[in-house]
């Protein structure tokens, strides 16, 4: 479980995150939604330690991550898997080497053991016989799956995904969503997904947090999201006429 207590973050005097407190439960997928520029990616980067919050606490399973330095922080980071918007695969390494990378850095396994584990992770994301390719030789959807394979290589306790479906067609996006859900159940990870893809939210979210102007504006479940009367959230989720009609029909039960 990850707890956030009163997180604040500013850049050049502009406050991006304003007193956000939240919790992300173990074995569940929490989705953070919000408009572009609302601060959801900055919040996630604060949680994983890529940005230092100006104030507030981040607590990983009872350990105060904000107070940790050096090797203590590195230990927590080894148990974090992260999917980036642009996949962030290492260009100079092959697919197999990318997945093996965390193992080579942090374990004493032999090369064959690492290859076995990397191939197992690649099979889990349905990538077979592509280990010799370089990331640039694979499609966008495949790169996301390779990034998932790399993120789970060390069997993470915490999984973060920053817009994992961006730039993907709806079918591939569902494949990625389902993989995130499967991994969360299988490894019992605390999973946090930043997205504005409402299909993804409706597909896999156990809990939803809506960030508006850097503040936690709303939180709830999928069912509560449909029935919400929060104006800002309604404007965000039901931005199109189609979604508005869908909501009306869901509420009327037709």
């Amino acid at each position: 479980m990850i707890e956030l207590k009163g997180i604040n973050k500013s850049f050049d005097g502009v406050q991006i995150i304003k007193d956000v407190s939240a919790s992300f439960e173990k074995g569940k997928v929490t989705q953070i939604i919000g408009k572009s520029g609302s601060g959801k990616s900055v919040l996630t980067k604060c949680v994983v330690g890529l940005h230092e919050p100006d104030s507030g606490q981040i607590i990983y399973d009872g350990q105060n991550y904000s107070d940790m330095r050096g090797s203590e922080r590195t230990e927590i980071r080894k148990s974090i898997g992260m999917l980036f918007q642009a996949s962030a695969l290492f260009d100079s390494l092959t697919v197999l080497q990318n997945v093996m990378f965390p193992l080579t850095m942090f374990t004493d396994q032999s090369k064959s053991e690492m290859e076995d584990r990397a191939n197992e992770c690649l099979r889990k994301v349905n990538i077979i016989d592509k280990g010799h390719l370089f990331p640039a030789e694979t499609s966008g959807g495949m790169q996301k799956r390779i990034a998932i394979a790399r993120a789970i290589a060390m069997e993470p306790k915490y999984l973060f995904a920053d817009e994992p479906n961006s730039g993907l067609d709806p079918q591939t996006a569902i494949v990625i969503d389902n993989l995130i859900q499967e991994i969360t159940s299988e490894y019992n990870t605390t999973t946090v997904v930043v997205t504005h893809d409402m299909n993804s939210v409706m597909e896999v979210a156990d809990k939803i947090i809506f960030i508006h102007n850097g503040q936690k504006w709303w939180q709830g479940t999928k069912e509560e999201l449909i029935r919400t009367d929060n104006t800002e959230l309604q404007d965000f989720v039901y931005a199109s006429k189609f979604m508005k009609r869908l909501r009306e029909s869901l509420l009327s039960g037709s």
């Binding site: 590195t74 642009a86 850095m105």
Partner: protein
């Protein structure tokens, strides 16, 4: 001024991370060998070509400018050797390597920054600064002196080719000249300069690449800044080291 001080401070902080104890020496060894190939071996062709022509031109210019019969032609070999060892090989070549190697380092790291590959390393718990920059620094410190020695030898050889090929001076005069009053200390001085320049080229370019903010446009801009700053620092350190070591 404030901006310059900010850069110096940020550079110092980055170097502290670069020089911290590596997580896995085994992986670093492999990376150092890779970097030697990328930064050093790939520059060999350029070094060979430049050095031969530099030496040849110095020899030609010196020979054509000696009019007085009182000045011995052995001076041509002597002047070529001294120019190549003291200045052309270590400084000129380092300036050229700052362009070739420096821009390659800055753009590689800048691209990794904007595509979040550096963030990915940090999230995994890898010291990205050390993992990415230290092997480049070590490989340049090890390999650049070899490049400069090759350049010295080929520069002097370039002059020899001119003496044989053009007949502008007696080959024996040229050979006698390059043996004349040889000081090993000058080679040592050139090596010290080379080590400083190697460190400047790799770390300054790496700093500009590693700290890119934005997109591909900023990668290009920072790559240029890296080359310009490295070149200026090479010229400043060239003066300072010459003052300290030769006077």
């Amino acid at each position: 001024m404030f901006e310059t001080l900010k850069h110096i401070g940020a550079y110092g902080m980055l170097m502290k991370r670069v020089l911290s104890k590596p997580e896995r020496w085994k992986i670093y060894k492999v990376r150092i060998i890779d970097e030697m190939d990328k930064l050093g071996v790939s520059s060999l062709g350029l070094v060979i070509l430049l050095s031969i022509f530099m030496g040849a031109v110095i020899c030609l210019q010196t020979a054509t400018n000696i009019d007085s019969p009182l000045i011995p032609m052995t001076l041509v070999g002597y002047a070529t050797r001294e120019s190549v060892i003291l200045e052309l090989a270590p400084t000129m070549l380092s300036l050229i390597l700052a362009g070739k190697v420096g821009s390659s380092i800055a753009s590689e790291l800048g691209s990794m920054r904007v595509t979040e590959q550096i963030d990915a390393l940090d999230i995994m718990g890898v010291n990205s600064a050390s993992y990415l920059i230290l092997p480049k620094l070590v490989s340049a410190l090890v390999f650049f002196p070899f490049l400069i020695i090759i350049s010295m030898v080929l520069g002097i050889f370039g002059g020899y080719i001119v003496s044989v090929g053009t007949g502008i001076l007696e080959t024996q005069d040229y050979i006698d000249g390059i043996h004349l009053d040889f000081k090993l200390y000058h080679v040592f001085y050139a090596m010290v300069k080379t080590l400083f320049f190697a460190a400047i080229i790799t770390t300054v370019s790496a700093y500009y690449g590693y700290t890119v903010k934005g997109g591909s446009l900023e990668v290009g801009k920072n790559s240029t800044k890296g080359v310009v700053s490295s070149s200026i620092l090479i010229l400043v350190f060239n003066y300072l080291l010459t003052q300290i070591m030769l006077i």
